[in-house]
């Protein structure tokens, strides 16, 4: 079964530092997403990406965040100047057009200290 791969599985960073979370979506999927889940809370939508541009973003996804598909396979989430409250699990997901079931990766646990 195809998988969405995320690296690293766990990242610890100091407050104020920049982090890049990496994802390899399923190869024939066209839509890519980032979600996050703060410990003990709901899974929250951050951003969706299609045709090399952001198609939708939430209020959480402010100027601190950016996404990129630098090549034909990777999809990255950059968080500039991390804050303590950015500590969460970050999930990448992808989907194929016309199919509502999304495939999520196993997540990157980001800890900001």
């Amino acid at each position: 079964e195809p998988e969405v791969t995320q690296t690293p599985s766990h990242q610890v960073t100091q407050m104020g530092q920049e982090v890049i979370l990496r994802c390899v979506p399923i190869s024939n999927h066209l839509y890519f997403y980032w979600y996050r889940q703060i410990l003990g809370q709901k899974v929250e939508f951050l951003v969706s990406f299609y045709n090399n541009e952001i198609s939708e973003k939430s209020e959480i996804f402010d100027d601190q965040f950016s996404v990129e598909r630098p090549d034909g396979s990777n999809f990255t989430l950059k968080i500039r100047s991390t804050k303590l409250e950015d500590s969460a699990m970050y999930f990448c997901a992808s989907s194929w057009t016309g199919e509502y079931g999304y495939t999520f990766g196993s997540g990157t646990r980001l800890t900001v200290v």
Partner: protein, 112 residues
Amino acid sequence: LAKTTQPISMDSYEGQEVNITCSHNNIATNDYITWYQQFPSQGPRFIIQGYKTKVTNEVASLFIPADRKSSTLSLPRVSLSDTAVYYCLVGDGRNAGNMLTFGGGTRLMVKP
């Protein structure tokens, strides 16, 4: 998006059938009902999706009455490994680019 309501938690025993009901009174004509499963420290996993009546796959069944204001996820003969959080989502199933809105889900605990 239609708001969903589901029980916060449920307990069951191995081998039993588990039914989790989700209410979605404001479901729209274009909306599909989708269920996801999430284990601790893992991403949500798609289980099943339906529009009306009954859908069955190798993992679960989804029952949707004619008025579509609720739906029931049925897990046959659960095992300890089915202990997870189950989310009911309602949205336009035709647009794969739509964001998913997760609620609190139902925390299912399967006991030996």
